[in-house]
Amino acid sequence: MSESARKDTPEQAEFRQYCRAWLQDNLPPDPPVRLPLSPLEITTSEQLDYLQAWQKKTYDAGLIGCDYPLECGGGGRRDCQRVANAEMAAVKTPFLPNVIGLGMAAPTVLFHAREEKKAELLPRLFSGEDIWCQGFSEPGAGSDLASVQTFAEKQGDKWIINGHKVWTSLAHFADWMILLLRTDKSHKYDGLSYFVVPIRSELGKSVTVRPLIKMTGETGFNEVIFDNLEVDDSYRLDEVGKGWQVAMTTLAHERGAGEMVTPRSGGKGKSDDKEAASVFGSSALVDLARSSFRNGKTAADDPVIRDRIMREIIREEGFKQSSRRARVQGLQDHPMRIPLQNKLLMTEIMQDVAELATEIEGAAGSLSVADPNAPAAGRWPLAYMNSFGMTIAAGANEVQRNILGERVLGLPKSK
């Protein structure tokens, strides 16, 4: 029996059996098109259709939203999402396309929306029929998120929204957006409010979505412009002026430190049952070093390269073991100490692995995805560039270090 299975509650054990059996019979066919590396890089409707169909199927089978209440389309279970995730990871299912919906919008809606809105929004979010995106950053509000200027003005039961959001992943496919905006210009933090807004139906009218081109040449994120978008007051989450507190719920989940476990499917995310699959690719470095040359011999025999690969393998194992330790009550010095390090570590290990991989490739690391001779199909220099999206997004890592220094170490605030 697997280690994780031995620690299951009766409910989890039964659910694990169910997931395992269901997955055995329902693995999806191979995709008809090449899939991107992450949901945030979905570019074609063929990719989206295939992935959406998979999400719908897993939701209908009860593998998504397991821990959410029955009334809002959830499974009403206790701590079972991680079970479904582990089972899906073990058989390497395709990833779930509605990643912002599942990871950020759903917990925020659950904790802050009116009851009838939860029932209206969450089932279609879980099934992937509605794709969600996140309207937080603006041209003038990045790490200093609370300085957003997109403004909502109250007119009767409606709000009229004007403004400009950027770095909006999936907006080109999205039906809904979680939106942090300003309802009062005289207070910075207390002048913010939080809405969920339908954008698909307003495209070409009061909402404009335009692609932004990343440094890699890929699209994938967008800018979104609101020109008198009218939204009913019932789509406001929590009270007027409480937007910052609601946004904290979203951000905690985005950074992997939230209360709800995000539904995940696919090879990313570790399987407890297999020899540790490398999440960040550090073990791929070994294979790469074996097939790359340096000073006339394989890079795998170069002592400097060996040392640097070991550093990354150790960091990745450390990250994994910290996630394990975070669940052992007696082994923590501060309850938020490990959870708040998640985003920092994940993104920096990923970045350093990609950088080292590109370096191991040597001269061939100069070849892009467009070159037929590029090792690993040009994946590593591309991954290295894309990794900056991760170290910058969700609060740049410099902001994460402020948060850790202030909330965990108790150092004075830097602003």
Binding site: A300, D307, L331, I338
Partner: protein
Amino acid sequence: MAQPTNFGFGEEEVMLRDSARKFFADKLPTERLHALVGDDPDPHRSLEARWDPALWQQMMELGWAMLAVPERAGGMGLGAVAVVALCEEVGRAAFPAPLLATLNATYILAACGSAAADQAMAEIIGGTAVSFAAINRQGSWEYPDTDVTVADGSLSGQACYVQDAQKVQHFVVKARCGSGTGLYWVAADAVGVTIIPDAIVDLTRDQARVEFSDVAAIELSDDAVAALNQAMPALWTLQAADMVGAAEWQLQTTVEYAKVRKQFDRELGFFQAVKHPLVNVMVAIDQSKSLVYNAACAIDSEPGKAARFAHMANASASDAAAFASSRSVQFHGGIGFTWECYIHLYFKRQLHNQALWGDAAYHRTKLADMVIGPVAA
């Protein structure tokens, strides 16, 4: 056998850790430690060990020296996870005592699997402190290397960098025996044993070169390499736990200083040039601590992976120790550079720790041999 998700860290381990933390904080708070070991700043000070044997006596009465002695040999037979919890506290207190040395010897003796080794462990239970005398003049960490040879049951030669040599009553000595290497049990006061203390940087330990001149010895094992293959992961992991505990003290002490010390009308910790590196120290400690408990858990329940995980833990902890040391002195500013500020005690202990039983680069080299395979000749 798979590892338990909670590392096997339960109530018993929490109690041991908490009582150890309280014991060290009560019996030897940092100012008393400094008075005890830092009495003489002169690098040419006398070489006698500075420690409190009465406290060591109390620690043995608490059973800490026999924690890892297997039950078959009359000990408590606790898992390595419990032992590292204790070692973390030893490091946090920078405590001068032959506890790690004796625990280390226990793991080696347990791996010998001989009646003589079981008898030696019975002596540990009876209050004997032990140190492993293994390193040659070149400081080699390779198992077969030694400057001691055995002939007709008698040892001759020298062992260098022997830890706590003035505090222990017995040595486990690694010696060449014909074409192989064996392990031997020798009393520190046996005829022909000469202990020549080193002058060392670390004030919380003593270390010596031990000379053996035709010393009668009891054979514990005729295959030191096999015994050490089994035991060394524990030594590396215990050492890493000591470093993690000491680094946590360095972090917390520096954080407290950064909250009160003001420059430019602000507390130091306000400045991101101070705040962010302190966060980086914390992250490095947490990574190492997690790897330490993982390695300890592997020793207890997944021995086939113990060496690999222990290399990871020790490499990570050595780097975290070096980092915590450098930042603790730097961020204390001018006062951090003086003898009166306690942080030098930890800086020096960490410097010693970092190279004990293999430094970070050594452990990464060994790990690479396991993960990638040896370098082609």
